[in-house]
């Protein structure tokens, strides 16, 4: 099994964050809005209409290209990709063929350098809704053009990924970058990020690429991972039993957990690309591009590395914090205002990231300092944190009002501890019979009655009383 090498290149379609569509003024619909409510004569492709380029989409594409360290050529243009399908109102898609907005970039994922071939702009198609459960059984099909003309960036990598894990991590890193620079919300479930891996395998140690298949219908990072694993396994079994891989597009079926043939490239359509005559070639202003470059925030990978090297965070903490610009900004600002780095990182990972509730950085610094000084317990800090988020009052006020403090004096806790032991004879018996875990139950009871108790002191006290 080890003598096969997996080779993956990724095509990722990303919907840039824009108010309107790529070539008209229609607002971009949320998923599940009533069909054909975000359409006009332009995105319906009515006779006589013409496209006009959405500047915000170009800006998002250039920002993405810059973040992916692409070159931005002096000239770029749009082309028509001609094919007829009922979800394509003009009978062609406006895309970019031989002069894309950007080329030759790079994205590093866990130390692997993935080359980016190009990032270009195009428009999305509409969607067909078939009455009946499957296309070939449908007796009627309906066309919803809400998505027709929605801008899409296509980010194409070179075949530099070597496993399903790498492909998934690449897609996640891409999402992180897109969110960090504000180019897209990149929500896979909303169809804002669609990953299509091109998968092939070859004998380890050889250079020639095997025949690839392109996988579609992938709706989550988990599905991406599983689809690739399935496909690699399928190709390997084929080749090992004397079969050949056919170059084709294969769909991932979430229900059946397999890929299935959709469209063979042997009968590949001739798209008859030619320059879009309705849109003059673009010559982007270099100063504008440099302005966008200068305004890019620190990229997640760089921030992540800095959090490890400068702040001493673990790789795991740094990854979670840097993946979200809001978390990372909260962390760094709080630390700048005096919050202790490691406890604050720990706090953000465990308390803030899962809830998404962000506190003012100065308040967080205040709270973390109290926690660090052992003035309050972690439970109290949590109470104070969320109360401060809700009310906007300072943690110090909240702590004072509730009389939060941490008690480390054994004598103050002894009465409560004894009461807990008396009230839980079963846990006490379990503990004495060797079930050490029963101690945690008793500890929890104690903390419920005395949230101010220093957990370490309380634990030692219980141990002493039980022995």
């Amino acid at each position: 099994m080890a003598d096969w090498e997996t080779v993956i290149g990724m095509e990722v379609h990303v919907q840039p964050k824009t108010r309107s569509k790529m070539f008209c003024g229609c607002s971009v619909a949320d998923v599940n809005e009533p069909p054909n409510t975000h359409v006009c004569e332009i995105c319906l492709g009515l006779p006589g209409t013409l496209p006009a380029i959405n500047r915000a989409a170009v800006e998002a594409c250039i920002k993405t290209a810059l973040a992916l360290r692409c070159e931005i050529p002096r000239h770029t243009k749009f082309d028509r990709k001609n094919y007829m399908y009922p979800d394509l109102p003009k009978g062609y898609q406006i895309s970019q063929y031989d002069l894309p907005m950007s080329v030759n970039g790079l994205l590093e994922v866990d130390g692997r350098k993935v080359r980016i071939r190009r990032v270009h702009l195009e428009e999305d198609t509409g969607k067909l809704v078939h009455a009946g459960d499957k296309l070939h059984k449908a007796w009627e099909s309906y066309v919803d053009l809400n998505r027709a003309g929605v801008p899409l960036m296509e980010i194409v990598s070179e075949p530099d990924l070597r496993s399903a894990d790498e492909a998934r991590d690449y897609a996640i890193e891409l999402r992180t970058v897109l969110r960090a620079i504000g180019a897209s919300e990149a929500d896979m479930e909303k169809g804002q990020l669609r990953a299509e891996p091109n998968v092939s395998i070859r004998r380890a140690g050889t250079d020639a690429l095997g025949v690839k298949t392109e996988l579609k219908n992938i709706n989550s990072f988990r599905a991406l991972h599983r689809a690739i694993l399935y496909e690699v396994d399928r190709q390997q079994k084929l080749l090992e039993t004397g079969g050949t891989v056919v170059q084709e597009t294969r769909g991932w079926s979430e229900d059946e957990e397999r890929t299935f043939s959709q469209r063979s490239k042997e009968f590949a359509e001739d798209y008859r690309y030619f320059p879009e005559p309705d849109l003059p070639p673009l010559e982007l202003d270099r100063a504008w591009i440099e302005g966008l470059r200068a305004a890019l925030p620190e990229l997640p990978a760089i921030r992540r590395a800095r959090l490890v090297s400068q702040h001493g965070l673990t790789a795991g903490q740094a990854a979670i914090i840097s993946a979200d610009r809001d978390l990372a900004d909260l962390y760094e600002t709080a630390v700048m205002q005096g919050a202790p780095p490691l406890p604050t990182a720990n706090w953000i990972v465990n308390e803030v990231a899962p809830t998404g509730k962000l506190l003012d950085p100065a308040y967080l610094a205040e709270l973390m300092t109290m926690l660090q000084a052992k003035d309050i317990t972690r439970d109290q800090a949590r109470e104070a944190y969320f109360e401060s988020v809700e009310t906007g009052r300072t943690p110090a006020e909240i702590v004072a009002e509730h009389g939060y403090r941490q008690v480390s004096d054994e004598s103050e806790l002894r009465v409560i501890a004894e009461a807990v032991i008396d009230a839980n004879p079963k846990a006490v018996a379990d503990y004495r019979n060797g079930k050490t875990q029963a101690l945690n139950a008793l500890l929890n009871e104690l903390r419920k009655k005395a949230p101010q108790a220093n957990p370490k002191v309380a634990r030692e006290l219980l141990l002493k009383l039980l022995s």
């Binding site: 004569e41 319906l44 492709g45 009515l46 006779p47 006589g48 209409t49 013409l50 496209p51 006009a52 380029i53 028509r80 001609n82 007829m84 399908y85 009922p86 109102p89 003009k90 009978g91 062609y92 066309v143 001739d270 008859r272 690309y273 030619f274 005559p277 309705d278 849109l279 003059p280």
Partner: protein, 496 residues
């Protein structure tokens, strides 16, 4: 009396309207009566727009009384069937769009409406503007008002015939390879094709996007210039429209030709198939221009021979893509009773498109196909660049280029329909202007064998004012006003 009202220029009509001698409603009534009388024979109009002319004439009369009327207030206009008007059936001369009523009005038309124009109806044309005789209309052919057995030219034949027969004061057409200038010449009226990008194409049902331009038909150069100035100018809905000032098309255009150098390209002057009568009319025109003080210079457009071939690659290539949207799914003709979507497409398009449209869609699809793209489309684009350079070089030696608009006068209906190539040759003197994106006009310059001949003036890019200047000087000196034909039985003509 009413006939008098149907041979006016904008200037004449405006004077009468402002004086209060007539109302816009009178003017419309005179035209509608004229249409009822002559259009059964000319067949310039596909549809009349009574609702529109009633409200627009009312509005014009109100504004004239209030004293805030626009420059075209009350002027009856005919609109070619490729320009979308909200709520008015617009079909590009094709059965495939039968019943299609656009939910919007295109930019050029709405600018003329804002200036007060009153729309009388939709004029006939070759299907999707593909043709030079209006015989390719998906409805019926239009007849030349000067000889009903002859074609009016095309593709904007209905608009040209409407102005020539007193059925409208001005009309709009579109010109992709000569479709305004050639019918203007054959019908004896003024027809102007602006620089590519001068007028927004928004609302123009595209034939070949990189060549199409909207332009006016009129009875005088002044009327054409005024109409153009009112619809020109940047439109955010058309990215290929220019932000140059619309009014520059009128700059100094009344200054006369004294001291101007007018180039006569020898490839145009001696073009194959040019009729002696046409050549004689052009010689006479050149003589008049010379007498007005212009210097006639010899220039060359060496790649002229390749222009036709390049044009018949580029235009079909673009049309094959532009016409893909007519698939029966959303509007127009729809043959839904088919076993699958591909069959539905084929049946709809086979039934809805005529022969010439199908021919060009196939030609263009072939020219763009993988493996043929470089040899055809890319090569044609290179030829296009060479043709532009030809004109650049010519305009270093002259201010404007003059020639015949069409090598022939109007030809008999049916005489070229069996031979597409001979039909394509009708555009040999005009399509260079489209490939190079230049402004051009055709003005009446006498007759040959009793039929109108047109003089073409081509100017450099954005040189509409130069084109108008030469055309106006000729019009004034020659006293060659566009006449209004009263179509009757075919006149007998001598033998040569």
């Amino acid at each position: 009396m009413t006939d008098d009202l149907t041979s006016l220029t904008i200037q004449d009509a405006t004077r009468l309207l402002r004086l209060g001698s007539i109302s816009s409603a009178d003017l419309v009534t005179a035209h509608v009566e004229r249409i009822e009388r002559v259009d059964p024979r000319v067949k310039a109009y596909l549809r009349l727009t009574q609702d529109l002319w009633e409200t627009q004439a009312d509005e014009a009369d109100r504004k004239i009384r209030r004293g805030d009327a626009g420059p075209l207030a009350g002027i009856p206009i005919a609109i070619k069937d490729v320009l979308c008007v909200r709520g008015v059936e617009t079909t590009a001369g094709s059965q495939i769009l039968r019943g299609f009523r656009p939910p919007y009005t295109g930019t050029a038309v709405s600018r003329l409406f804002e200036a007060g124009a009153v729309m009388l109806g939709v004029t006939n044309c070759d299907e999707f503007a593909m043709g030079s005789s209006t015989e390719n209309s998906g409805y019926f052919p239009t007849h030349n008002p000067w000889d009903l057995e002859r074609v009016p030219g095309g593709s904007s034949g209905g608009s040209a015939a409407a102005v020539a027969s007193g059925e409208a004061i001005i009309a709009l057409g579109t010109d992709t390879g000569g479709s305004i200038r050639q019918p203007a010449a054959l019908c004896g009226v003024v027809g102007m094709k602006p620089t590519y990008g001068r007028v927004s194409r928004y609302g123009l049902i595209a034939f070949a996007s990189s060549l199409d331009q909207i332009g006016p038909f009129a009875r005088s150069v002044d009327d054409a210039a005024l109409t153009l100035s009112l619809m020109a100018g940047y439109d955010p809905l058309d990215s290929t429209s220019s932000d140059r000032a619309a009014m520059e098309v009128l700059n100094n255009y009344g200054a006369g030709v004294k001291g101007m150098r007018l180039g006569v390209p020898r490839e145009y002057y001696d073009v194959a198939g040019i009729e002696p009568g046409v050549k004689a009319a052009i010689d006479a025109a050149l003589f008049i221009l010379q007498k007005q003080g212009a210097e006639i210079v010899d220039v060359s457009l060496p790649h002229t021979d390749y222009g036709l071939a390049a044009y018949y690659i580029i235009a079909p290539a673009e049309c094959s893509s532009n016409l893909a949207r007519f698939d029966g799914v959303r509007y127009g003709l729809s043959e839904v009773d088919a076993p699958n979507i591909t069959a539905e497409y084929s049946r709809t398009r086979r039934k809805g498109f005529g022969t010439e449209v199908r021919r060009r869609v196939m030609l263009g699809t072939y020219a763009l196909s993988s493996g043929y793209y470089d040899a055809y489309y890319l090569k044609a684009q290179k030829v296009r660049t060479l043709i532009k350079r030809d004109f650049d070089a010519a305009f270093e030696k002259c201010d404007a280029v003059v020639s015949a608009t069409s090598p022939t006068v109007a030809f008999p209906i049916g005489s070229k329909t069996q031979d597409p190539l001979s039909m394509y040759l009708c555009d040999v003197l005009t399509l260079g202007g489209n490939l190079a994106g230049l402004p051009g006009i055709s003005v009446p310059c006498g007759t040959s064998d009793g039929l109108p001949v047109g003089l073409q003036v081509l100017g450099p890019q954005w040189g509409e004012n130069v084109v108008f200047r030469v055309a106006r000087a000729y019009e004034e000196a020659s006293e060659m006003k566009a006449g209004v034909a009263t179509p009757g039985p075919s006149p007998r003509r001598g033998e040569g």
